[in-house]
Symmetry: C2
Subunit: 184 residues, 2 copies
Amino acid sequence: MQRSPIRHCRECGSPVVYRLPDDGDNKPRAVCTACTTIHYENPLNVVGTVPFWGEDGRQVLLCLRNIEPRRGKWTLPAGFMELGETTAEGARRETSEEAGASIEIGPLFTLMNVSRVGQVHMYYLARLLNDRFDPGHETIEARLFTEDEIPWDEIAFRTVRETLECYFSDRRQGRLGFHTIDVG
Amino acid sequence: MQRSPIRHCRECGSPVVYRLPDDGDNKPRAVCTACTTIHYENPLNVVGTVPFWGEDGRQVLLCLRNIEPRRGKWTLPAGFMELGETTAEGARRETSEEAGASIEIGPLFTLMNVSRVGQVHMYYLARLLNDRFDPGHETIEARLFTEDEIPWDEIAFRTVRETLECYFSDRRQGRLGFHTIDVG
């Protein structure tokens, strides 16, 4: 998601201009030409889970996207964090909305910077409580994959691929860690 | 920071109303009454460091705030993450801006949800390369404190106190970990 520039003031509706504010700030901001309100634009968090199942967590749950971007590609359940929730609560909500999966949420597993698009992606480990799924309208199909079955060329986002690679690599080494990655 | 409601559309300047959008979303959003643009509001990231110095990192660098909120209280260097930077780059920038400190940035140390105000705070460990500081206009004074010297009743934010407590506790145990905390 590349963001479009702000055109009008959220307070009074007048046009804004991008300029250095008068408060000593060293970055251009959208400043209202009428009421001088400064509008800040900041990175967004995307939160999700790695839902696992079976002996030694050998299967993970992926969702076939029914919405753009990347409709028809596979993803871990994830979405934009909302006001009023924690990162873990957001991850749980997305897992429920996109996969209808029941989980016991675990520790944070990956934190990835996608600075090119102004996003931070965070994935939590999540033990599936059963293997019955009930995907919402954003998902065509939700199913379990072993490492060998993962459709690596059909993964929707690089952060999902990175997280899956970390997951199976950690499983082989017998210890799930915490990974910070700059995706660029 | 409690955020004020959006009043006008950033695209066309017309008034917005808070309502359920027509796309199946289940949360009220600010929707433009003229062009129907939907305006999302999401949590913000605050990024900073725990700059340490001396044998076994026994001293940490705190900054006496020269700006509101909490002017005259002590904080770790931190501020809002900006577009175009990673969490670690933002933490480094804030450490430079607020303390003028030279650091070697280390791993992520704390990730704290402050869902009441829609914020996620992240602190990185940072080894100070020297003990000369050059605080910017946001800081009255930057100085090193041992655990015994920390002005616990004069700490600006709860996330700073939590991070400092984790730091000294981990140091006593001889191992710096990664901590996720819900501050409420």
